[in-house]
């Protein structure tokens, strides 16, 4: 009962934030409180009172919707057309739209994630190799597009990928693309969504990785330099292994977010009818079944699938990589 919280994983290195957390885990205040005849139950009661508004939101917008989606996907919802059990899931996961959506999202992830990780890591290492005004300017320029998200992002790239308008026209022509129709073909869509996601997202992660490099022990790097290592060796053999966990963290968190892809295909599909199917991504599929097919049970099955993907990512981060408690000090 008095057990230390296992929620925030034990740190591997004794950095300030971690020490602070260990301190709370010991909770000296709780003991003092008891000695001063403040009953523990009073503290617990106050804690629950302070938590109440948040817990109400947590229940209303996470716990209840997830469990009701699970219930509904098992055929338990009102007006379900399947018997209770796995019939709804079987129907949802075997229909003609599910597999293509999985393939679309998987292709997007396969294009986007490696490029994001390699690009952000390379940029952070190259920038960190020589700090200075030029470095800060480039870092800042990469970071600004982070304010362009969703509909404005799609609109911007619709223009950038239309050869007649784009400053990148020569580049597009180089790839044999002379019109928007050439660019927005079905096989290019994963790459197009990856470009959008990279443009808006890479800068923030470059800053995070740069921050994690700044937090490294400079003695190690100095020692290597004295031993004759050049910048390339230092980046590859010393800095990269030391920030590998942060890169893994970015990989998992980006995977979780990217698997939910919905705004980009949805808006491109609306702006250029016929280019993107209404059920291109998994979230679009869930939307389509809920609102166009009026099949809440199948929609719930897709929602459960998406929640499981996100949950898996969360569990990997919390218990596998044990990132939390550590990552935030780089921010």
């Amino acid at each position: 009962m008095v057990g230390r919280s296992e929620a925030v994983p034990h740190p591997r290195s004794g950095r300030p934030l971690d020490e602070a957390q260990n301190m709370t885990a010991r909770q000296p205040s709780a003991h003092i409180g008891r000695r001063r005849r403040t009953p523990r139950s009073t503290q617990a009661r106050l804690a629950w009172a302070l938590l109440a508004p948040y817990l109400a939101l947590l229940a209303a917008f996470a716990v209840i919707p997830i469990f009701s989606a699970l219930w509904s996907s098992l055929g338990g919802g009102p007006g379900s057309r399947d018997p209770f059990g796995f019939a709804t899931m079987a129907r949802a996961f075997s229909n003609n739209n599910f597999l293509p959506a999985v393939i679309n999202v998987a292709t997007f992830l396969v294009v986007f994630l490696p490029v994001l990780l390699i690009f952000a890591t390379a940029m952070a290492l190259v920038l960190h190799g020589r700090p200075g005004r030029f470095t800060s300017v480039v870092k800042f320029i990469c970071y600004i597009p982070g304010v362009v998200v969703g509909a404005p992002l799609v609109l911007l790239w619709l223009f950038m990928l239309t050869p007649q308008l784009s400053p990148f026209e020569p580049l597009l022509n180089l790839f044999g693309m002379a019109s928007a129709a050439d660019v927005f073909s079905a096989q290019n869509l994963p790459a197009i969504f990856a470009i959008m996601a990279l443009y808006a997202g890479a800068g923030g992660w470059i800053v995070v990785l740069y921050g994690s490099l700044e937090a490294l022990d400079t003695n190690v790097i100095e020692a290597a330099r004295i031993d004759g290592a050049n910048s390339w060796h230092i980046a590859w053999h010393i800095k990269l292994p030391l920030i590998a966990r942060y890169i893994a963290f970015i990989g998992v968190i980006s995977f979780a977010g990217a698997a939910q892809l919905v705004a980009e295909p949805n808006i491109v599909g609306a702006a250029l009818p016929g280019t993107v199917s209404d059920t291109w991504s998994l979230n679009q599929l869930a939307f389509y079944y809920a609102f166009n097919r009026n099949d809440a049970a199948a929609s719930s099955a897709y929602a459960v699938f998406l929640v499981i993907i996100g949950l898996a990512a969360a569990l990997v981060l919390i218990f596998g990589l044990r990132t939390y408690s550590e990552t935030d000090k780089t921010r």
Binding site: A7, Q43, P65
Partner: protein
């Protein structure tokens, strides 16, 4: 474009000459400067194009060089055209975006600060479960639960109302986590114990010590919750049908859909073309960009980068 590339390369060159001890080093630095300049151009040109687009007419966008400046009259004309779209509904969308974001922030802050304080300061049964649920909640992307939340809100008749956007936006576990971290380091134990010795109750300690010390955490929660709500597309897309309730994110998608912006087969007579669409996008981007930079100055770049949600 060339001007920008030139000046950036110039910056790099100065650096290179000053500090190049050997030929191979010099070459490496040249490559570095070249590569970084290329990245900087690739990242800045799209936004620069968007800023310049409303200064040109539809025809000029195709005929003038892509980063040329048109005229300020064209911006005025584009604005007039944009305002003619559904009686200036763009301003309603802007007001909605502000309202949803501010209301979402208020709920997020009011719920997060006491919750984060309680998790950091008190030991009680169930605490670690709540911390784990909070971590899961902040990693699990909100899009995954939007449709189940719709089904739930439909039961209580809240869909297609502003509540359907504000309430789910107020659920912000990342804010609880930030506050939790903040109080673990910000509130000295000695101070709490001294207050207890003086006979202050835990509630009084929260009000007199905790709340005033919560300001930095509240600022961070405000920043992240505001940006998250402002940029959210899928939640309002699912919840709202009435276009007068739309935030800018949905409004811009509507513009793209209903006017012949990109899709020339759209036979609409609306005067909404590419310059107008670019201007509308700027109306959505500029406020959040200003918000970004104001907060960045107040809190520091490192703190604001990389909200944990995808």
């Amino acid at each position: 474009m060339t001007m920008l590339a030139g000046s950036a390369a110039g910056l790099g060159r100065r650096h290179t000459r000053q500090l190049a001890p050997s030929v191979s080093h010099g070459l490496g630095r040249w490559l570095r400067a070249l590569g970084l300049t290329f990245v900087a151009v690739a990242f800045s040109v799209p936004l620069l194009w968007l800023l310049l687009a409303p200064t040109k007419t539809e025809a000029e966008l195709g005929s003038l060089p892509s980063l040329a400046f048109g005229s300020f009259q064209n911006v005025g004309a584009a604005w007039t055209n944009l305002m003619s779209f559904s009686d200036g509904i763009l301003l309603t969308w802007l007001a909605n975006s502000v309202f949803y974001s501010v209301a979402g922030v208020v709920i997020a802050v009011v719920a997060s600060i006491p919750a984060g304080y309680a998790l950091a300061m008190f030991e009680f049964r169930g605490r670690s479960t709540i911390v784990v649920l909070t971590l899961i909640g902040m990693i699990l992307p909100t899009a995954a639960t939007v449709i189940p939340i719709y089904q739930e809100l439909a039961l209580v008749g809240l869909t297609n109302t502003f509540w359907a956007v504000i309430l789910p936006s107020g659920f912000f576990p990342f804010g609880v986590y930030l506050t939790f971290l903040h109080f673990q380091t910000a509130l000295p134990r000695e101070l709490v114990e001294a207050a207890r010795m003086d006979g202050a109750s835990d509630l009084r300690i929260f009000v007199a010590l905790g709340l005033p010390l919560a300001r930095p955490a509240a600022a961070l929660v405000t920043f992240f919750a505001f940006v998250a709500t402002w940029n959210n597309y899928f939640l309002p897309y699912v919840m709202l049908v009435n276009d007068r309730l739309y935030p800018l994110q949905l409004g811009i998608a509507t513009l793209l859909n209903s006017a012949p912006v990109i899709n020339s087969s759209n036979q609409s007579d609306l005067p909404i073309h590419k310059p107008e669409a670019a201007l509308a996008a700027l109306v959505a981007i500029v406020p959040i960009a200003i918000f970004f930079f104001v907060f960045q100055r107040a809190i520091g770049t490192g703190m604001l980068s990389g909200a944990v949600k995808g």
